[in-house]
């Protein structure tokens, strides 16, 4: 099939054209040659480190709630659109990716996919393996010094715990890791169900 624009694109990109339109190929090649020689990003000096610039960025991150785990958790518990749900699932499942790039900071392991909602102070999480996630959260809470109770009923796994005040940083870290907010009354109630459970 003849596709002159496709051949033009291939030539412009420096690839061997898939088709055989010599005119389009030659046109693309000439454009490529002149763009390579004459079109460049502006040659401006930019300091690698600029305190004012960094302060602006951090202020922006704070404004967007990126530096506060509680706000991040709150962000995760807002009613979600399908796109946001997919992003959250990806966030849970794909944390290993960015770990490669920002190795200094990133030491995560792939997580179970889960979505959540909150009603009547009970945080509802959907997970493909609710029992495993329950055990994971229980273990982490126990490791952080919290006595938490796990239960199971009607196909739903649950966790109840009364958190001390103030909530210790280690416990906040566990909650943030699972995108859970700190309950205002200290009563942590989590329900974990398979996806699609009403």
């Amino acid at each position: 099939m003849k596709d002159p624009d496709g051949d033009w694109l291939d030539a412009l990109a420096g690839r061997a054209p898939a088709g055989s339109n010599r005119a389009a190929t030659h046109e693309g090649e000439r454009l490529r040659e002149f763009i390579q020689r004459n079109v460049h990003t502006p040659d401006v000096q930019v300091p690698e480190h600029d305190a004012r610039r960094e302060a602006q960025l951090l202020e922006r991150a704070r404004r967007d709630g990126l530096t506060d785990p509680a706000q991040l958790a709150g962000r995760a518990r807002r009613p979600m659109r399908p796109a946001a749900i997919r992003r959250l699932v990806a966030l849970a499942a794909g944390v290993a990716g960015i770990a490669v790039a920002l190795a200094v900071f990133l030491h995560g392991t792939p997580r179970t996919e889960h979505l959540r909602s909150a009603r009547e102070n009970v945080v509802r999480i959907e997970a493909t393996d609710p029992a495993a996630l329950k055990m994971e959260i229980l273990d982490e809470l126990h490791a952080a010094g919290i006595t938490a109770t796990g239960y199971e009923g009607l196909g739903i796994e649950g966790i109840d715990a009364q958190l001390p005040k103030p909530v210790p940083p280690g416990v906040r870290a566990v909650l943030a890791r699972h995108h859970l907010g700190v309950p205002s009354d200290g009563a942590l109630k989590i329900e974990i169900a398979p996806p699609g459970t009403p």
Partner: protein
Amino acid sequence: MRACREGGAAIERALQLLDRSYFAVLFRESLRGLNDPESARDLVQDTFIKVWLRCATFQGDSELLPWIKAILRHGLLDRLRKSTGEVPLEATEEPDSETQRRIAELSAQMIPQPDSEAARAQLDACFQRCWRRFEAAAPSHALVMAWIVEDGLNHEQIGGLLGRTPGATREFISQCRKRARLHLAEWYELAFGAKETA
């Protein structure tokens, strides 16, 4: 994903690292499209925030800079669309059929180009003049063409940047070619017709 879990200082350190590592290259890229340092800086910082929010979608086996650049470029095209609006190329604006026929003929013949320094300098100067007009009249198309040359973008990658379907991407590429012919007409005449008119 420790920074994401811990929030606060860890996220701030990660953002500072992003800024120090990539601000300069992204700023130059933004400046080329936006022609305004403040807007360019704003776009780069906006990109860093998006990088953070989308970090879970980063594939660890790919390079970080191209991924970040793609986010920036997507945002850049979005801003250009909003600021300039997309004006479809009117049929009357297209090069007339005689010009198109001539370009096709001359391209097909692959006429050898004048190789003297003076002729080459004249062609370069003409190209630069025409390209500036092209950038002013159709910034998105000019930018995407430059990116195609620089990074060898294929159809799928262009579609991703534009956020368009494969069909709409094909149409955009076709528009790039038509607009290039229109705004670079003077250069086309010299580059493809020099031998004939000499």
